[in-house]
Every structure is written in C-alpha cells, then in structure tokens.
Symmetry: C2
Subunit: 249 residues, 2 copies
Amino acid sequence: MSGLKFRTEHQVRGYECDFQGEITIPSLINEMVHVSSMQSEALGNTEESMMMRGLSWIIIQYNIDISRIPERDERIILETEAVSYNRFFTYRIFRALDLEENLLVEVFTTFSIMDLETRKMIRIDKEIVAPYKADEIRTLIRQPKIVSVCEETKSEKPFRVRYLDIDANKHVNNAKYFDWVINTVEMEFLLAHQIKSINIKYEKEVEFGTMISSSISTKEQEDGTILTAHQIINGTTIACVANIIWEKR
Amino acid sequence: MSGLKFRTEHQVRGYECDFQGEITIPSLINEMVHVSSMQSEALGNTEESMMMRGLSWIIIQYNIDISRIPERDERIILETEAVSYNRFFTYRIFRALDLEENLLVEVFTTFSIMDLETRKMIRIDKEIVAPYKADEIRTLIRQPKIVSVCEETKSEKPFRVRYLDIDANKHVNNAKYFDWVINTVEMEFLLAHQIKSINIKYEKEVEFGTMISSSISTKEQEDGTILTAHQIINGTTIACVANIIWEKR
C-alpha cells in the first residue's frame, strides 16, 4: 500500500544548522517539502498549476520521528512517498536517510487542498492526486492526540509575523511555526536535550503584521523523556498546537 | 588579477522566496556563502579546520548589486572568486548568473579572520589564504560610504535574538541581519519597489537573547531611486549599518 516515491540528495549547509551543528527542524522540513515540489514538478503538478486553478496544498499536521538528526556537511538522502488519500486529506511520508540507507528522520504528513479565494478546505480532486498513484482509502488516519499546554505552568513569548516569514505560496511558511515553537524553549534545556519526536497541528493561518503568542509548558513523563506542550495563539484564536518529546543528550 | 573560482548550480526553492516569488536576500546570501564553504572544503580548508585552530572567517561588509533577482524554481549558477587579500582583509566576489551566463547578482565581500577566544580580528595568515591563489595587495579596498540613519525621521522595530538565529559557526548568522533590516520596511513599499543594491557593514556581534533595535529612514535621491538607511543597535552599541537603493517595479 503506497504511491510513488521520489528522492534526492542533499548536503546539509552550515546556515541550516543550529548552534550544535545539527540541521534545524525548520530547515529540514523546508528541504523535505521542496522534494515533494520536485516530485510534483516531475509529474506536471506544479504549485503554479495549482495556483492557476485557484488551489493550494496546505499542511495540516506533521508527525516527526527522529532517530538521529543530520549534521553540518553531512550528505543525506531525502525521500518522499505519496501514501494514500481520502475525501479530504492526502497522506505523505518524508524520510531523511544516510547514504547507507539508515533511516534518520521520518515525517508523516497530512495535507489538504485549500481554495485560495475562500481560504477553505475543499474535497480532494482525484484528477490532482492521480499522478502520485497513492491508494484511495475510506478512513481517516488518526494522529496521536496533542497534549494541551498547562495554563498554570506555561510561559509565553510574543512574535511579530514578519514580511520575510511569508513565502512564495503567499502565506506564512509552515516551517516558521517551528521557529516560534522552538524559540520558546530555554537555551540551557536545548543544550542538554535532543528532540525525539514532534507532533504539530496547524489550526488556522496567521497573517502578516499580527502579533502571535507562543506558549510552552513542560512535563516529565514516566519513561524519563520530557514532553513540552506548545500553543500559538493569534488574539483568542488557536493557530497551532504541538508536542515535542525530548530526551537527554 | 584574481584567484580561484568555484561554481555550482542551484534551483531556487519556494521556501527561499518572498511573497513575490523572488529569492530573499538572506536566502541568496546564505547559499552564496555555502558555495565558498564548498570551495574551502575542496581546498582542504574547512570551517572545522579553522575552528580547530581557534579561528573563524567573519564577514565585514557586503556590497550587493542586483540586475535581476532570481525567481522561484529558476536554475541559477552560483560562483565565487577569491579576489585578493591584504594584512587584515580578504576580498571575495559572489555571483549569481542565469544558465546563459548573464550576471544577475554580484556581491563584493570583505572578510577577516577572528580569534574565537579574544573575539578580535587577527592578521591574515598567508598559509590559510594561499590555497585560494588570490593576489596579495598592500592597499585597502575602500567600499562606498554608508549614509547614516536620519535621527529625525527614523522609525524602529525591536527584535529579540533567537536561538535559531545562531548557526553552526556559533554566532548569529550574517544573513539574519538582512531579516532585521528588510522587516522594518513597510509592506506597501516592498510591493511597489525592488532592490537595486545593498551595502551592509557589520560592526559588532550581537548575542543570543539580547533585544536589538532596527531603525530605518528613507530618502528620495536625485536620480529617482530611493535610499533607505538602516542601523541595528544593541543597547548603545551599533551592531550593523546598511543602505539599500530601491527602484520602482
């Protein structure tokens, strides 16, 4: 059960890395999503052709599992696979592998298609997804539930939505939210822990110029890992929720 | 008069582009500087080997001239050339060309070498620069003077230096400053104008966690172009100054 795969090689750049020389989540996700653009282009399904139909792919949720995060200068394989689709969602997996084909990062992604005029989700058009040869399914693929931010213990930081946060798709780049999420975590914690998994869900677009608030609460789990719960709010509207599981370095 | 050249091809990604589908200055500069890292690597002069000597390249000034800014999905050639060096500075040109070798963007860059412990510039070590076969010169190459921000008419925006602003070189990525500079410009102005040239000078590093203030003043010039003067201040210390010349789209 799966559709077409597409892969490319990428050398991790210094500017894509954080203080610790590891590729940042926004950089990795951006480059992964670019691989699906390459696949779409190869199949004649460019973002432009979507735009000309008044449509755009939107990302609803990422589930990221990290075995080992790629490092500066490392050559990696980036792979994408159109898995399946139902009436409202398409499911796609992104993978980062080392050159010996060991799986480093796997990202299960839920997409939908938005009408650019109404900014609403529309039914998946079979004609659009046909080239990817993914399986049509009748069920929704449920993702792990996201634990809410603890209102009592949360801390928050404000962020202004900047002009350069908006990309060629004319809305805030999905990877930007990781920036707002990760930049609420204390430096000392970031240096002592590494990310094991991330579950992030996009609820509502944020617009240029608005001030958003990104909050975080922290909870130690039974297995010794630490869960941070995140919430990005625009006024009173929840724009994005996320959980990150961390383990000690 | 010139040293070794190195070139590579790059396809502009959607995430590297702004609202208008044009590659952003930070994305372009990052990818250009990456090409010089590739050259250094090919010559056995990696950032790591510099770090092991307790040294790091630092960028003092960029002079960017834009004939046409590369667009989303466009394939471009990125070229770098080690031009010359004197006792304290090395000079390097970056170029973006289209596949017919038309020059799109040229960036004249002044580098120096910093001692990572004292955070001070040191004399250029001939052994380090020798592999690039650049000319040794006795003179300083003067760059155009940067017009100061007009204190009476300036407006300013605060920015927090975020964890993800720091890259694998363990300091704020140079391209980040363009973010702070460009994000002070009003949206309406950005949509109606395009950048003709940028002259940016780095005066002093900014550290993680500090709040910096980025100010801008605008002046119409005799030739009809518009000059914006920029200043990034950390407390009372000037961290960075820049001029951008804009023309109507």
